[in-house]
């Protein structure tokens, strides 16, 4: 796990590959949630803009019920997390915080596990806080699916 150390500052090399703690993981999750929220907002504004262009005289902002927004947001979140974890092991929040999702032996999580993990997190986000109690910094999702989150400051996946 220590190749490409030239891209990593000296003081950070010691903990590359170690299990990440609750703070970085919560911050990364919050960033991902913000990303999804921004995408949702952009989609909503784009939809409203198209409606305005098609019929400017009778324009009103489309109804955005809380329930529908949550359902669409959850689906979008699950899709985003699945694709990000399966392809690079890291979401945008992970990249910023220098984290990577890996299998229990350090390999890729794969599409199936990534999809299950994403759905699990969307349904039960509170499971993330098991990291605080777990002696090996695993969330409930990590324990069930045999995954882990490690520090990995390398700019991209190298395998």
């Amino acid at each position: 796990m220590h190749e490409h150390e030239f891209a990593i500052p000296k003081e950070a090399r010691g903990f590359q590959g170690q299990r990440a703690g609750i703070v970085t993981r919560v911050v990364a999750a919050a960033i991902d949630a913000a990303v999804v929220a921004l995408v949702l907002l952009g989609a909503y504004l784009g939809y409203a803009g198209v409606r305005f262009l098609l019929d400017p005289r009778h324009f009103s902002f489309p109804d955005a019920s809380i329930f529908r927004s949550l359902v669409v947001g959850a689906a979008l979140m699950a899709l985003y997390l699945t694709v990000a974890w399966a392809m690079t092991g890291r979401t945008y929040g992970n990249v910023l915080l220098g984290l990577r999702v890996v299998g229990s032996r350090g390999g890729d999580v794969g599409w199936l596990r990534a999809a299950l993990r994403a759905g699990f997190y969307v349904v039960l986000p509170i499971g993330l806080f098991w990291v605080v109690i777990d002696p090996r910094q695993r969330s409930i999702q990590d324990r069930v699916l045999g995954t882990a989150v490690v520090y990995d400051w390398r700019p991209s996946r190298t395998q």
Binding site: A12, F15, G21, I22, V23, V27, L96, L97, G98, A148
Partner: protein, 215 residues
Amino acid sequence: MTVPVRRLPDDVAAALTALDLAVGAVAVTASAAQATARTLRLTGLVERGARPFLRAGRSWRLRVVREVDHLLPLLVDLAVRRYVDLDGLVATVDLDAAAERLDVEAVIARVDLDAIAARIDVEAILDRLDLTATVLERVDLEAVVDGVLARIDLAALVEEVLDEVDLPEIIRESTGTMASDTVRNVRMQGVTADEAVTRVVDRLLMRHRPAPGAT
């Protein structure tokens, strides 16, 4: 056109009259002598008798002609100065008409204009001219600029400059450094916070962690 000649003085007129008389007498005498000689068939005799006279006469004539050759220019000069009103004479000349007959082109063709131009002090002339004001007043600057711009391929020029500058690389370097500094700080703070939380929780749960680095 009459040349104004001063009237001859009286004494000269008298001298001329005397000269006329003398020449006339000589001419009459000569023709009389010629007639006599022809009548009396004395030609041969006269010829022979006249030879010394002819010889002496010729030598005298030659001397006189020589002297006159020497004196005549002086005399003419004196005479012109004395009797001819040159200013008046010139005043009667129609110089304009003369100038019209002059072939100026031919004259110019004979003049070495290059040599004359070489003698002109161009610097001094330029010093006397306010060229800036002249250009600003007389030159259609817009037309000049348009013409220059039409001759320059601005697009190619801009492309060349951009090629030299490599703006994207500069932006990438500066923002990249900035961004990576920020990201590094955030990551370090996250790691420090993680460790702090883990330490606190371990202490609360009375958990002993063998060594940092265990996964």
